[in-house]
Amino acid sequence: MLQSLRRGLLAGLLAGLVLATFDFVTDGAPGNGFPSVFHWFGIHPANSTISHYGGFFLLIVLAGVFGLFFGALQRETPVSASRALLWGLGLGLLWWLLFELTLTNVTNHASSPFGLSLGSFLSSFPLDLLFGVLLGAIYIQLQERQAPDVS
């Protein structure tokens, strides 16, 4: 159990790092998406440096928490690729529903917590699913790498 938690945490942190790195190559000023991570929790730091760096680290920490959750769900040893990818997709969907849809709408005081435009759906949904797929795929890679040590 401890090993799957550790593996999940590492997979989550690495998948979160990839997600965060995407923000550095986004059109416009790089890193402009990081302050919105604070906004999910209703925090609006006045200092731009704090909101950018803090948002970057908070995103990775949240991804780590999702990774821990992923690891806790894996009781089967070893986990098959299909199971890991499916659970990853599920957690990616949960990430999108929780952060990008509900919390974003609630903190923006939108008329509905589930309101969505095509642009905002397209800009967030595939990337959050990708986070989930990466979580599952990295978990599998780590499991395969550690397999000789176990046997």
Partner: protein
């Protein structure tokens, strides 16, 4: 100089030996780190295509229009401009907006869908080589139409990047092809579709 007279020539013998040696060149195997690196490159190239969807969103795809007009004026292949004039730009009356165009929206929808497909296949590593092949075709088209309107290597590099991803099965690490490839490999003897699909993972 005839072939027979050169048979005992030491220089020719050396060349023959070198040829034999190159015929038994060591096979190249990518290690795990290189494969992970290729998977990361694949995702970033996918993200590059993904970002370009947002300045030409449906239902009007208006952002694409000025680029198609530019392509029709600066294409490096003779006849390509005329082809665009008679398809994408048929019936258009303005150079800045798709007023009066009869076929622009459906054709732009095809381009946008193709780019979305490229972005999703490369980001998720799902039928990656198919996505990379499609990216090569789209990037080649951009090169033909726009190469001389920007830095000439801009679209050339895009073509080369896509070709690298056609050559290396980068979706088999950190992608859905990791799960798909062994299944298609196992089924390829029995099913023709699986055999064809396995080319693209």
């Amino acid at each position: 100089m005839s072939i027979l007279s050169s048979a005992g020539d030491p220089k020719r013998t050396a060349v023959t030996r070198a040829t034999e040696a190159s015929a038994t060149a060591l096979p190249v195997t990518l290690n795990e780190r290189s494969l992970i690196g290729m998977a990361l490159i694949r995702m970033f190239v996918g993200y590059l295509w993904f970002q370009q969807l947002f300045w030409k969103l449906p239902p009007t795809f208006a952002g694409l229009y000025t680029y198609v007009v530019r392509e029709s004026q600066h294409a490096i292949l003779p006849g390509y401009g005329a082809l665009l004039q008679h398809t994408f730009l048929a019936g258009c009356t303005s150079l800045s907006s798709p007023v009066g165009c009869t076929a622009f929206v459906p054709l732009a929808a095809c381009v946008w869908t193709a780019e979305l497909l490229v972005a999703l296949t490369l980001l998720f590593g799902l039928f990656t080589r198919f996505g990379a092949l499609l990216a090569t075709i789209l990037a080649l088209q951009l090169y033909v139409g726009l190469a001389y309107t920007e830095w000439i290597w801009t679209y050339g590099m895009l073509v080369l990047l896509a070709l690298v991803l056609v050559a290396v099965p980068s979706g088999r690490r950190l992608g859905v092809d990791l799960w798909l490839a062994p299944r298609l490999q196992a089924a390829r003897q029995r099913h023709r579709i699986a055999r064809i699909a396995s080319w693209f993972v």
